[in-house]
Amino acid sequence: METINNLKLNESYTTETLDNGLRIFYIHKPGFTSSTAVLAVPYGSLDVMQKLPDGSVHSTHPGIAHFLEHKLFESNSGQDVMESFSKMSASVNAFTSFNETAYYFTTSEPDFTEPLNLLLDFVQELSISDDSVEKEKGIITQELRMYMQMPEARLMFETYRSLFVNHPVRLDIGGTEESVSAITKEELAQCYNGNYHPKNSVLVIVSGLECGPVIDAVKANQAKKKFPAFEKHTRYIETEPTSINEAIKTVEMDITAKKITYSFKFDAFDGSPLERLKKEWQVRLYLELLFSTYNPKYQTWLDEGRINDYFGFEVDFTPEYGFAMFFGEAENERDFTALVHEGLSEDVTLFLNHFDHLKKRFYGQAVRSLNNLDDIAVTFARCVFQGLDYFDYMTLVNELKQEDILEAKAMFDFNRSTLCILKGKSE
C-alpha cells in the first residue's frame, strides 16, 4: 500500500494492487458524508474490433460494450442488482464511453462495505440468458432513439462520421438498432471474458470514511473468488487516413435552430500520455485566446449576429485520433466557416497578455472539481487507463509556457476540415 500526497491541492490517495491484479485507489475526503466507488474496465465502444491472444482479429457488433453494461445488472441469483443497491440505500449506475465502461454507486450510509461487495460481485460475474438478451434489445432501441432525436447528440454523432473514415469513433456508442438486434448471448460472453478481469479493472473509492477497513473489505471479497487465467483482448483499429471523410454534410431534423460544427482533423499523437495532455492544453488555450471574449472581435461577431452564446469549441487528442471542433447556431454555414478562418488567422501573440489569466482560470476549475466525489472517481479511473498520474493531470496547466501555445497554429489544416450542418426540414 502506498500513499501519494499533494500538499498544494490538500489531497492524497492510497493505492494498492491485489494479487489477482485488481488496482485499488482510495481518495479520502474528510468531512464528506457520502462515499462513491467506481469499478471500471478499459473497454468501450471503440473496442468493436479486438485482437485476440492468438493474433486473430475479432469483429463484434457496434454497441456491444454498451449492451454488456446493461446486461451486467442481471445477477445469477435472479435478484435485481439495482433493487439490491436500493435496499442498501445506495444509488447505482453505469456508463459506457468510447474508451471505458464504468459501474458506480454512491451512498451516505456508514456501512459502505455491503454495497461495495455487491459492486464487485455483480461486475465480476456474468450471468445472462437468451431471453434477457432479447428483452434488453427493446430497451436499448428506445435509448438509441432518445439520443438520436436530441439535436446536440445527433450533431456530435454526424460530426464524428464526417471527420473519420474508418475509426470506430464514428460509430454511436450504443450502436445502431440493427447492430443491437443482432447481438447474441455468446457474443456478449466472449467480450466479457476478454475484457472483464481484475487484472484489467480499476477500483476507485472516494469517501469520507477511513481507508483501512474499506480496503480490507475489498481484499476479503477478492480472496474468496477464483478467476480464470486472463488473456486480454486488445483494441484493433484499422488504419485511419489523414484525410477527412466528408467535407460537407447536411442532416435534416425537425428543429428550428440550425446547428453547425466546423471541425479539423489532427494526426494521432504518439508521445507520452503527459505530452499528449500538454498538446491538448496548448490547442485549448490557443483557441481560448482567439475565440473567446479576450479577442475583441468576439463581441463584433455577436453584434453582427454571426454567432450567439451557444458558440464554443472542443479539443480532443488521443493516441488514435485528434480533432478540434467549433460549434454554433448560425443561419449561414459559409459565414460560420469564414468566421473560424478569421479567428485562426489572428496573431495570437496580441492576446498573450491574458495567458496567465487563463492559467489561473483552469487551475481554479481543476481545484474546484475536487468537490465532487463522482467526478473525482471517474476522472481518476480514466487517468489510470490513460497512464496519467491524477495529480499531474490536475495541475499540468500550471506548467505551460506562453511559447508552448504558439505551436498550435500549424496544426489547423483547412484541407482537413469538415462542415456539418443540422437544419430544419422546412429549410
Partner: protein
C-alpha cells in the same frame, strides 16, 4: 448538515471541506408575464458587462484574476414566485493566495448596482433568450413538458415558462426593462446564501454591506396548490421516431402540507428508483421504454410522469402508468418498496451537505414554505409515513393533462 446559520435573510454555512466558496443571491418576484421574460433578459445582461467592466473581455479578466471565479445567473419557478439567482464561486483562501472571495463580493456588487442596460446589451440578451427557448423546443422531451404545463396549467403560474416567452421578447424596451430592474431590486424578497470556508460573523458583515441596497422586509408568496381542472389531452406532431409523453397530476397537496412527505414518497415509489413501480413494470418487464420517471413541481402541487416510447405503445403505456398509480392508491404494494423509498430519500437528504448548491436549495425551499429549516424535522416527517398515509396522499392525485410530442402521421402514398 444543520450547520447553516440564519440571520434574517442571510444564510451561512461555514465548512472547510469544499475547495471553494459559493455565494447564491436569490430574488423572488411574481411568476407572471411579461415579468418573467424581463427577468430572463436581466439575467443575461447582469453578467454580461457593467460600468466598471464595460466589455466581456474585462469581465472575463476580472473572473480569471479571481482564480477562475464563475458568475452565472439562473431563473426558475417556485409556484407563484419566480426566482432570479446570481450564483458566484471562487476558490477559498487556502488554495489561492490573495483572498479572492473578498474581490468576488465587490465584483458582484458592481454587477447588481451598475449593470449596462443599453440597446446593444438588450439586443444581445434578446437573441440569447430567444435562442435558448428555441433550443428547448427542439428537444422533444422538453417540448412535451412545456406543452403539458401550458395545457394543464392554463391561467395559472404553472403555464408560465420560467425561461421566458417568445411572444414578449421583442416588445421589451430599455426604459421598461430598467424600470422593472429597479422594481425587482426594491420589491423582491431576497435570500443570500454563502457556503464555504468563511468566518460566519465576518462574512455576515461583508454580505450586509455588499447587499445593503436590498430590502430585508419584502415577502413574495410562492407555494400554491393547483386546482383539479378537467382532464385534457394534447399533441404536437414532429418528424421523430419516439414519442415523448408527459402526464400531469394535481396532487392537491401543497409544499409543507401535512400530506406532503407522503405524497413525495409516493412519487419516489412510483418512479424514482430502479425498484419503482413504473420502472419495473414498464421498462424491466415489458421493455417499452428506456427512461420513465415521476417527479414533482412541488410549489405548484403537481406530480408528473415523463417517458419516451414507441408511438404504437402510447395507449398501453398510459394504461400501465394508471395501473401503477392505482396500486399506490389501493395500498397493494410491498412493504419493501416503501422502506426502500424512505431509506433512499433519507440517504439522499443526508448527502446534501456534500454539495453546496444542493444544501442551499434544500434550505431555500424550506424557508420559502415557512417550514422549520432543519434536516431533523424533515427526516422525522419521512420516517412517520405509513402505508395508509401513502394511500391517502395518492388518492388525492387527479390527472389533469397528458401531452405527447409524437411522430407525424404518415399519409398514404399516391402511387
Amino acid at each position: 448538515m444543520g450547520e447553516m446559520i440564519h440571520a434574517g435573510r442571510y444564510h451561512i454555512s461555514a465548512t472547510d471541506k469544499f475547495k471553494d466558496i459559493v455565494l447564491s443571491v436569490r430574488l423572488m418576484g411574481e411568476n407572471r408575464e411579461p415579468d418573467v421574460t424581463m427577468r430572463n433578459l436581466i439575467a443575461q445582461i447582469l453578467i454580461d458587462r457593467c460600468a466598471l467592466y464595460p466589455t466581456k473581455g474585462k469581465m472575463t479578466e476580472k473572473c480569471d484574476e479571481l482564480y477562475g471565479a464563475t458568475v452565472d445567473t439562473k431563473t426558475s419557478s417556485y409556484g407563484n414566485g419566480h426566482c432570479f439567482e446570481l450564483r458566484a464561486k471562487t476558490l477559498n483562501n487556502r488554495y489561492a493566495p490573495d483572498e479572492p472571495f473578498d474581490g468576488l463580493l465587490q465584483f458582484v456588487r458592481e454587477l447588481f448596482l451598475y449593470p449596462l442596460i443599453d440597446e446593444k446589451t438588450l439586443s444581445e440578451a434578446k437573441t440569447n433568450v430567444l435562442a435558448s427557448i428555441l433550443r428547448q423546443e427542439d428537444n422533444p422531451s422538453h417540448l412535451s413538458m412545456m406543452k403539458a404545463c401550458e395545457l394543464g396549467g392554463s391561467g395559472t403560474p404553472l403555464a408560465v415558462s420560467s425561461q421566458g416567452n417568445k411572444k414578449f421578447i421583442d416588445s421589451v424596451n430599455i426604459d421598461e426593462l430598467s424600470a422593472y430592474y429597479k422594481k425587482m431590486l426594491n420589491d423582491d424578497q431576497f435570500d443570500i446564501f454563502c457556503v464555504g470556508d468563511v468566518h460566519p460573523d465576518r462574512v455576515l458583515n461583508q454580505l450586509r454591506k455588499t447587499f445593503d441596497f436590498l430590502n430585508e422586509t419584502n415577502v413574495t408568496q410562492t407555494a400554491y396548490v393547483s386546482e383539479v381542472s378537467p382532464y385534457q389531452e394534447g399533441q404536437t406532431a414532429k418528424q421523430i421516431e419516439q414519442t415523448s409523453l408527459t402526464q400531469l397530476y394535481a396532487t392537491q397537496t401543497g409544499f409543507g402540507h401535512p400530506r406532503f412527505s407522503s405524497s413525495r414518497l409516493a412519487i419516489v415509489m412510483l418512479g424514482q428508483l430502479p425498484s419503482s413501480l413504473m420502472f419495473q413494470e414498464i421498462r424491466e418487464k415489458r421493455s417499452l421504454c428506456y427512461s420513465i420517471y415521476a417527479s414533482t413541481i412541488a410549489f405548484d402541487g403537481i406530480m408528473f410522469v415523463s417517458t419516451g416510447i414507441s408511438p404504437d405503445n402510447t395507449d398501453e403505456v398510459k394504461r400501465l402508468i394508471k395501473v401503477q398509480i392505482d396500486t399506490l392508491k389501493s395500498g397493494e404494494f410491498d412493504d419493501d418498496l416503501l422502506k426502500m423509498a424512505k431509506d433512499m430519500m433519507i440517504s439522499s437528504l443526508k448527502s446534501l451537505s456534500d454539495e453546496a448548491l444542493a444544501e442551499i436549495n434544500f434550505f431555500y425551499q424550506r424557508l420559502l414554505a415557512g417550514k422549520s429549516p432543519t434536516m431533523d424535522t424533515v427526516l422525522d416527517e419521512i420516517n412517520q409515513v405509513t402505508r395508509e398515509k401513502i394511500t391517502e396522499a395518492v388518492n388525492y392525485w387527479q390527472p389533469i393533462c397528458s401531452y405527447a410530442v409524437t411522430k407525424e402521421q404518415q399519409h398514404g402514398n399516391h402511387q
